[in-house]
Subunit: 281 residues, 2 copies
């Protein structure tokens, strides 16, 4: 496995691979890898000759009072894990090369970035689309894999790719969960052992309302109230949002009809956790 740190070296490597007709797959991450990230690499390897994973804790997607400084990092362990799933290249640029002094350019997707996570994190998706556009121009992939865990991110990236005519195929891979159902996340490390037990309520509330919908419930208010009641029983849980929305334009609805995305964000202690489920009504 190759480790590349300079932007120009990654671009040269991409040009070389493309000149040899190698199909490049790309998995952008912020590191502190878990089984979820590894599943994205495996997915990319199914379609591509060479898989590049980036490890970069991107400052522009954190708000001023968020956890950029505290975000967990363990580069040596990440390299070992990437190697274990036969990742070909790890690209880990320096923050000062990615955002030099007097950096001025941002990519913004309107509307669908202002709901759900965008409401409590107003500049988050601007940071995400900007770094992903930059990484696309550096890694020059044919295909990129994102996780369904960040459902809104996947939808926003797909829209950016379509709107800006990036000639890159986007694959969204399923959520990988712990045995009890908690969605894997680097931020789970913030949880105390008691909070870790409470955290499973996100998944449990989704499973419960999925059953309600399967049994015929279509009233969004009823579904949301049921989730609120379940989550409020956990002493450390503070709900940021629970939304039932259209899977492409993220518009909320009163009555479920067809495919919907149920997404929620809940703070448990210092960890802001997200989870979601796409349900066919």
């Amino acid at each position: 496995m190759k480790i590349v740190t300079q932007i120009v070296d990654m671009q040269k490597e991409a040009d070389y691979l493309r000149s040899k007709n190698q199909k490049i797959g790309f998995v952008p991450t912020m590191g502190y890898l878990h089984e979820g990230h590894l599943s994205l690499i495996r997915e990319a390897k199914r379609y591509c000759d060479v898989v590049v994973m980036s490890i970069f804790v991107n400052p522009t997607q954190f708000g001023p009072n968020e956890d950029f400084k505290d975000y967990p990092r363990n580069f040596d362990r990440d390299v070992e894990l990437a190697n274990s799933v036969e990742c070909d290249i790890v690209f880990c640029p320096n923050v000062r090369e990615v955002y030099p002094d007097n950096y001025l350019t941002f990519v913004e997707v309107e509307k669908i970035t202002q709901v759900l996570c965008g409401l409590s994190r107003p500049t988050h998706f601007r940071g995400v689309t900007t770094i992903v556009a930059k990484l696309f121009n550096i890694v020059k992939p044919h295909l990129a894999v994102f996780g369904q865990k960040d459902a809104q991110q996947a939808i926003v990236i797909k829209r950016m790719v379509k709107d800006l005519n990036y000639d890159i195929e986007i694959i969204v891979a399923p959520i990988i969960r712990e045995k009890d159902g908690l969605a894997m996340s680097s931020r789970n490390t913030y949880l105390s052992s008691d909070q870790r037990k409470q955290a499973v309520v996100l998944y449990q509330s989704l499973m419960t309302v999925r059953k309600m919908i399967e049994k015929g419930e279509r009233n969004v208010a009823v579904i949301k109230n049921h989730m609120i009641e379940m989550i409020d029983q956990q002493p450390d849980a503070v709900i940021d949002y629970i939304e039932v929305v259209d899977t492409t334009n993220l518009e909320s609805m009163i009555k479920i009809n067809g495919e919907v995305l149920i997404a929620l964000a809940v703070k448990i202690g210092n960890a802001r956790l997200i989870d979601n489920m796409i349900i066919q009504a």
Copy 2:
């Protein structure tokens, strides 16, 4: 000369050319070609195997009360002229394919887009950077040529390319002028024959203050006042701005020191004309 209208066809053509190790040069235009545009194609041909010129009157770079609808168009003549300088591919996409319904994504460069032309055209450069980013992802050039006539545009594009890590070399080609010094522009067609005579004052005012600077004048207020006096003598001339700024960050100054950009915009009748000169003090 090939004419390509579909985005996916242009991307396939670019992939094919790159797979054959052909260096792609790109000249984005809004059509209604004049000798200035042709000089950009000639410049691109000096460095590249294949030159693509786009013709697209980009709606997002016009303000609501600007001349999008009236902007001059003559596709047949453009194709003839492009052919005459051995342009290889003309890419002329349809506006509804470039900006489909529910288009949401924009590329924005901050600060340097809010001065000079950005003051009276606040969304102009957002439209320019968005369409250029899209065209870069469609045409996949190794090199792109822009005209120095749009000095601020060239600086903004260079900044976008650097910030977003586009692996594309940007060349800025000199202003091409009519015999009397008027900078060539598709918008000169808006001028009546009397206004056409008045319009040369932009160039004359730049030449006059260049001589003043060569003779030692360093006071920006004196230079600007001299230009204002000259231009105000033309009955139809209404000054939008006259600025003396740093050539990279576009910051204005009180005293000239080193290389400066003198840029101005003047409305003469229905034509908003711009011109500029880089002067080494």
